[in-house]
């Protein structure tokens, strides 16, 4: 198979011979029967359905529980490639936490003139309730999912820093389990770094951030919006794997200055809450009064040091798409080093010159909402029709401050298995990072999302993307 010359293919580069990390896999693959592999694909799907690895799509009444398509050709990364990426992520995550501490305290970065004051003051993601709050270890974002894309042999870009409640880690773990189940022989031939330690590491990392109010072994709970949430499976999975309770807002209340869960033996205080509920819904007394997903008064307990909330409220200011454009400065300001990982050049549409450029070049650009996620409300210029572009132009002109624009990157491809054999598809990568006071732990690999439609650049599962197992090879 000849790779598309326009894009960097991670298996074949720009040529036809397998790149070094894929050599062993390709040797195995050439002796495999495509029909057998395709039947394995169905086997994998049946397994996912039985386990219930599903997600819900909002606004789709016919398919309340859907599977994310799984492609069984792994994405393979060499140890050396990974080491550099991991170093870059670690640097970036350190900077994010230092930035969050600064933003909610003295705002030195603004005083130093490296970040305009209005980027904070006029930003909905800035939470005034967090001003002056120092969580244990000064960690604000404990669990980070740094979205990366690759455009060449040595070219990695950070697309987004997901510092609020990144999801997808359960797919990383289940994908690996499925591959081990289906192709044990591959894993004895090729040495792949393990990912299965993630839940233990998560528990340890959360426990290390217990508040002063905790005496003895920290009690950890996972807060979910409930079984109708799109990531409910993941919430249950992580709670289960960590032996933590899976709680909803109505299981919790404030008792004697602590947040406590209703157990069969009465109320029991929680030390660390891994919440998968957005800030807005966390506390009806302090934020959205209509929320039934949160706990009335939890913010007051939090500010008094009675509970650790992971991630901290207000971390959205760090992964906001407008702030993103300042990340190279932010990394340099807090670490004193140049950023190892590149940023995608970003046009802030709030700036009139940038807006003009973006409006003139809509057909070439990717335009995103500043606070959007999940691939909703974005424009991929090269893939959009004239009509779609014009409709988007109107939205952009109406509220330019809501948007940023980026060049369309030549995302790398990795082959997927189709009825006709291997075929290249665009991918991205979300590695998962755990931050505790004494260490930053990055699971080797992460979740590879793949756009299953030929030529498509949109990998989001809500938009029909699939996933792949991601292998980082041993040295």
């Amino acid at each position: 198979m000849a790779a598309d010359q326009k894009y960097f293919d991670e298996m074949f580069g720009h040529g036809t011979a397998a790149r070094a990390p894929y050599v062993d896999y390709c040797n195995w693959f050439k002796d495999e029967d495509t029909a057998r592999l395709l039947s394995k694909s169905e086997e994998a799907e049946a397994l996912f359905r039985l386990i219930g690895v599903t997600f819900n799509v909002y606004g789709d009444p016919d398919a309340t529980e859907r599977l994310i398509p799984f492609d069984l050709v792994p994405r393979i990364i060499a140890a050396r490639e990974w080491a550099k990426v991991a170093k870059g992520i670690e640097q970036r995550v350190r900077a994010l936490n230092a930035f969050l501490h600064d933003i909610y305290h003295r705002q030195e970065i603004v005083r130093a003139g490296r970040l305009p004051a209005e980027m904070i003051a006029r930003n909905d993601a800035f939470l005034p309730e967090m001003i002056g709050v120092s969580p244990p270890g000064d960690i604000y974002t404990h669990i980070v999912g740094t979205d990366l894309v690759r455009t060449g042999d040595n070219e990695f870009f950070v697309l987004e820093d997901n510092a609020r409640t990144p999801s997808g880690v359960s797919y990383m773990l289940e994908n690996r389990e499925t591959m081990l189940h289906m192709f044990p022989e591959l894993f004895s031939k090729i040495k792949v770094q393990s990912v299965s330690q993630y839940p233990r590491a998560l528990r340890k990392s959360l426990a290390a951030c217990a508040p002063d109010a905790c005496d003895g072994r920290p009690t950890i709970a996972v807060l979910t919006p409930g079984i109708h949430n799109s990531a409910y499976y993941e919430h249950a999975f992580l709670a289960d794997q960590m032996s933590a309770e899976l709680v909803e807002g109505h299981d919790l209340r404030v008792v004697d200055g602590r947040v406590a869960m209703r157990t069969t033996r009465g109320y029991k205080p929680i030390d660390v809450l891994y919440r998968r509920v957005d800030d807005e819904y966390l506390d009806p007394l302090n934020f959205n009064p209509d929320s039934v997903l949160g706990v009335p008064g939890i913010m007051d307990v939090y500010r008094a040091g009675g509970i650790t909330i992971a991630n901290a409220p207000g971390t959205g200011i760090a992964d906001d798409k407008a702030i993103y454009s300042y990340m190279p400065d932010i990394v340099e300001f807090y670490t004193g080093e140049k950023a190892i990982l590149k940023n995608v050049p970003t046009h802030r549409c709030s700036d009139p010159d940038a807006l003009k450029y973006v409006l003139d070049n809509l057909a070439e650009l990717v335009v995103k909402e500043v606070h959007g996620s999940g691939g909703y409300g974005m424009l991929v210029g090269p893939a959009a029709s004239k009509k779609e572009i014009e409709a988007f132009r109107a939205k952009l002109e109406a509220s330019p401050g809501n948007y940023i624009a980026q060049p369309t990157l030549a995302l790398s491809t990795v082959p997927i298995l189709t009825d006709a054999g291997l075929a290249p598809r665009h991918v991205d990568l979300r590695p998962f990072v755990l931050v505790s006071p004494d260490r930053i732990d990055i699971t080797p690999g992460g979740l590879t999302r793949v756009a299953l439609t030929e030529g498509s650049l949109v990998v989001n599962s809500s938009q029909g993307g699939g996933t792949k197992d991601t292998w980082v090879l041993e040295e």
Binding site: R49, L50, I51, G52, I227, Y232, A236, A239, D240, E245, L246, V247, E248, H250, D251, R253, M261, R262, T263, T264, R265, G266
Partner: protein, 313 residues
């Protein structure tokens, strides 16, 4: 353990047990309508009453008609008590309490749901009905078997078991409640052939025909049937058996938590009734009254368990 989780386990196993019992009742109704079509209508009415679906059925379909009743009990979206709705509720509760279940138990209930969802997507034809009913009973048994074989014997297991036996006793009691008049001693004097069929239906609806015959050497006697279903501690669907188990499981919770609640006392009082009463005493008191008292006391116990273990706030 969260109170919500305890409640979710209790209800998950109630719903499963209920679906299985409804399948047994359809089986019994089907048998009657095949053998004695003249008695069928009143049998379906009595089955609808036992499953608590009579009002809902009559509101949409009017007079009981075999195929309609069967479809209503199996899969009608207008019937919140249908087997399909029960299995869906069981699975929904299983999703809520998933962290408390072993993978085997979850997969058994999820597969039960997936199989029945496919199977009950269309109306079931007569010739397929026995097979479908068998699959329902079998799938429910798989979940019970996975629970038995893979779960640690702790509070989680106890709440699941309490839900199972609570619902099973409730079902047996409702069947007796519908049929008490043919189990009264005076009926034997009448001895009409229709009564024989009715007795047979009761045994079939509780899947106890074979057990009864073995233990009673084939002698069909209404008094013995009543004693069998109420007092015989050897029969896993009798009230005495189920309440013995509920008493045990509540006792284990008392030990594990080191705390005795009102529900333990209520359960003990109910268990004592089955120990102290023989069938004569029950008939003297009145079978109908005895069963009515039981249903009332059992409802009170259910509410008390919910309060004592904080299923809800």
């Amino acid at each position: 353990m969260l109170g919500k989780t305890a409640g979710g386990l209790f209800w998950m196993f109630r719903y499963l047990e209920r679906a299985e019992n409804t399948a047994r009742m359809i089986d019994a109704g089907l048998r009657i309508s095949l053998t004695r079509s003249s008695a069928a209508e009143s049998e379906w009415t009595s089955i609808l009453s036992s499953t608590g679906a009579r009002a809902a059925y009559e509101a949409t379909h009017g007079a009981p008609d075999g195929p309609k009743v069967i479809d209503f009990l199996l899969r009608d979206p207008n019937n919140p008590g249908s087997i399909m709705a029960g299995i869906e509720s069981a699975r929904m509760n299983a999703r809520v309490v998933r962290t408390a279940l072993t993978r085997e138990v979850w997969e058994a209930v999820n597969e039960c749901y997936m199989v029945l969802k496919r199977l009950l997507a269309q109306p079931i034809e007569d010739r397929d009905l026995p097979r479908v009913l068998q699959i329902i009973r079998q799938r429910s048994a798989f979940v019970r078997g996975a629970l038995h074989g893979t779960m640690v014997r702790n509070d989680i297991y106890n709440f699941a078991r309490i839900g199972t036996f609570y619902e099973r006793a409730d079902n047996t009691a409702r069947i007796i409640d519908q049929k008490y008049y043919i189990l009264l001693p005076s009926v034997k004097l009448v001895g009409s052939p229709s009564d024989n069929v009715q007795w047979d239906t009761i045994l079939r609806a509780t899947s106890t025909t074979r057990a009864y015959q073995t233990l009673h050497e084939g002698d069909v006697d209404p008094r013995a049937i009543a004693r069998f279903l109420i007092l015989d501690g050897r029969l896993p669907r009798s009230l005495a058996f189920c309440y013995g188990k509920i008493g045990d499981n509540l006792g284990y919770l008392e030990q594990e938590y080191g705390m005795r609640h009102t529900c333990q006392s209520l359960a003990d009082a109910l268990c004592a009734k089955f120990r102290s009463h023989d069938m004569n005493a029950i008939f003297d008191y009145g079978l109908h009254e005895f069963i009515s008292d039981f249903l009332r006391d059992s409802a009170a116990l259910g509410r008390q368990i919910e309060i004592d273990y904080r299923f809800i706030e």
